[in-house]
């Protein structure tokens, strides 16, 4: 069951969702999705094959794609330059299409700038290269605080940025999406590109945590 902002009364969600294959009826919204889709299919406005295909598209988009792009940028300076000049085109070089027609700007973390991404108005997120966003990214606390107190918000993730480094918050509102290119951690000079990619987490590419030389989790 999806988490809510704290002011929600959860009134509509006290019934459990049915397990697949069970004889218990699914929840209201589960059935609503089915109903709307079938009505649209009956009117030949939605093609069931295209819909099934889109589920596969979504399943194929995970943070592992972004991690590969980051690792490649770390080892290949010419690719890094192309990535920073045009994120969408560089991702397309790696086979990562922008299925939603969004552009991509890659934001490089340096000794002078630490980047953080947010969508204060809704939940814009670089889905083609990272998959779907976590709940916390979509909920009020992150969205309202990222633009007014990014440093205390970062501290909630255990990330402390020195005052001498600019914290730069990018708020997505239109057709551009953002991906943070985190700093390559110390002590990884001998790592292969694959090993580097395994260190890069989704949260590092949102900008809330750094990449460390220990195995990444989420």
């Amino acid at each position: 069951m999806e988490p809510h902002d704290h002011e929600s009364t959860h009134g509509a969600h006290d019934h459990p969702h049915a397990e697949p294959g069970a004889s218990e009826r699914p929840g209201y919204y589960d059935m609503m999705e089915t109903a709307l889709r079938e009505l649209l299919i009956e009117r030949k406005l939605v093609d069931p094959a295209e819909f099934r295909r889109q589920i596969e598209v979504l399943d194929s988009r995970t943070p592992a794609l972004g991690a590969k792009v980051v690792a490649r940028a770390w080892v290949d300076p010419a690719f890094r330059e192309r990535l920073l000049a045009n994120g969408r085109a560089a991702c397309e070089e790696c086979g990562i299409s922008s299925y939603d027609e969004t552009e991509l700007i890659v934001l490089e973390n340096t000794d002078k700038v630490h980047n953080l991404i947010v969508c204060t108005l809704c939940s814009c997120y670089p889905r083609p290269v990272l998959g779907l966003p976590p709940d916390w990214y979509k909920l009020k606390a992150y969205r309202s605080r990222a633009v007014i107190e990014p440093r205390t918000l970062l501290a909630e993730f255990g990330t402390v940025i020195p005052d001498s480094v600019e914290v730069r918050v990018s708020d997505s509102t239109a057709l551009v999406r953002y991906l943070v290119l985190p700093k390559r951690p110390e002590g990884t000079e001998h790592f292969t590109e694959e090993e580097l990619a395994s260190l890069v987490t989704r949260d590092a590419m949102i900008g809330v945590i750094p990449v460390t030389a220990n195995q990444g989790s989420t």
Binding site: R25, M31, E33, S144
Partner: protein, 119 residues
């Protein structure tokens, strides 16, 4: 500015910089219906039946109470229904009849998900 004017001038989702509750680093794996809802939204946008910006406006237009009580993908579905009704693509009565039809697939303890759910 009085309160009712402020309600119009600030959308319920325009919360950058406003006081918010404590941050919670929560996430959940999408339920199958939520993923289907997301895929449906993408297909509706590809065909410009409901483009992504229309969906955003549709969610905003649900108003503060519904936005506060419904979860993320529940809001999308409510917005889709409203927009499809407004465009005359589906009538509310079509929706009501279809919901009854879908619900009836689980009556009398029929086992398994119905054949039509994703085909």
């Amino acid at each position: 500015m009085n309160q009712s004017e402020e309600l119009l001038k600030r959308l319920p989702n325009d919360i950058g910089g406003l006081p918010a509750g404590p941050f919670q680093r929560i996430e959940h794996e999408l339920l199958p219906w939520e993923k289907r809802c997301h895929a449906l939204a993408d297909v509706l946008d590809f065909h410009k039946i409901i483009n992504t910006e229309e969906k955003r406006r549709g969610v905003e237009a649900l108003g503060g109470e519904i936005v506060g009580q419904l979860s993320y993908y529940e809001r999308w579905l409510d917005a889709f229904a409203n927009i499809l009704f407004a465009k005359g693509i589906i009538a509310p009565s079509d929706f009501a009849r279809k919901m009854d039809e879908v619900a009836a697939r689980w009556e009398d303890g029929l086992p398994g998900a119905p054949a039509s759910s994703t085909t």
